[in-house]
């Protein structure tokens, strides 16, 4: 890596890496990130909401697996829809989903901003296989 410097952590890094960290710290200080963290903390204090979210995610996984095998059954799809409705009616989870949507939107804006100035799509070129927040 060009123009390498030593950081306090003792690892070799470049100005671009340091700038990446500054950018991340600015994002973590932003209202959408703070709201998302608060919504997450709220979820931790709400066991029924956590259970509902876990149930919904499991149902989602089952549908995805069934789809890859050649189509999900109606019963499973209906169950997922029922859980989705319950999830949207839950205050804690509704807030979490809205906070997450806002945060993702902001991260997408940051990516577009950076990519336009770079002339290449930053997220596309660096995206690992799979993964989300």
């Amino acid at each position: 890596m060009a123009q390498s410097i030593e950081t306090a952590r003792g690892t070799t890094t470049s100005p671009a890496i340091e700038a990446s960290r500054r950018l991340a710290r600015s994002i973590t200080a932003s209202p959408p990130f703070q709201r998302f963290q608060q919504a997450h903390r709220q979820l931790e204090q709400d066991p029924p909401a956590k259970e509902l979210l876990s149930e919904f995610q499991q149902a989602q996984q089952i549908i995805q697996m069934m789809s890859s095998w050649g189509g999900a059954a109606t019963e499973e799809s209906q169950q997922l829809e029922r859980l989705r409705q319950q999830l949207l009616a839950n205050v804690t989870l509704k807030e979490l989903l809205q906070a997450q949507d806002d945060l993702v939107e902001m991260l997408q804006e940051v990516n577009v901003f950076v990519s336009e100035k770079l002339g290449v799509d930053f997220a596309t070129l660096t995206k690992p296989a799979g993964g989300c927040c």
Binding site: Q3, T13, I17, S20, L107, N111, A123
Partner: protein
């Protein structure tokens, strides 16, 4: 909506990346790859032949000679010094971008690129 402070820091991040050796080498190699006359001819011939292949696919009238020519063109393009240079520069640049994404993601607590790419929320 990105706040002004984040925008300024993002601009600084882009400036550092643009001034990195990896990005400079990538951009220079890209220009050479795109403008090399010999490579241009090979790419044009390859595109033309690929179109012919598509048209002939239904009638199954592709000859062995045409297949050989296609393979030879593919090799000619991928092994051309300018293409090799471009591929190497691109890989090095992508490595730098991945390092930046790792640094961003470590601070955020989740993968920035994967999240910023996501079409819908999890």
């Amino acid at each position: 909506m990105i706040d002004m402070k984040t925008k300024l820091i993002a601009e600084e991040f882009v400036r550092y990346l643009r001034s990195s050796d990896e990005m400079k080498r990538f951009q220079a190699a890209k220009v050479l790859f795109e403008n090399d006359p010999e490579l241009r001819t090979l790419k044009e011939e390859f595109t033309l032949l690929a179109k012919e292949f598509q048209q002939k696919q239904h009638s199954q009238s592709i000859t062995q000679g045409e297949i050989d020519r296609m393979r030879s063109l593919q090799r000619g393009i991928s092994m051309h010094p300018r293409a090799v240079q471009f591929a190497k520069a691109q890989e090095a640049f992508m490595h730098t971008l991945r390092d930046c994404n790792t640094a961003l993601s470590e601070e955020l607590g989740f993968d920035f690129a994967a999240t910023a790419m996501a079409a819908a929320s999890c």
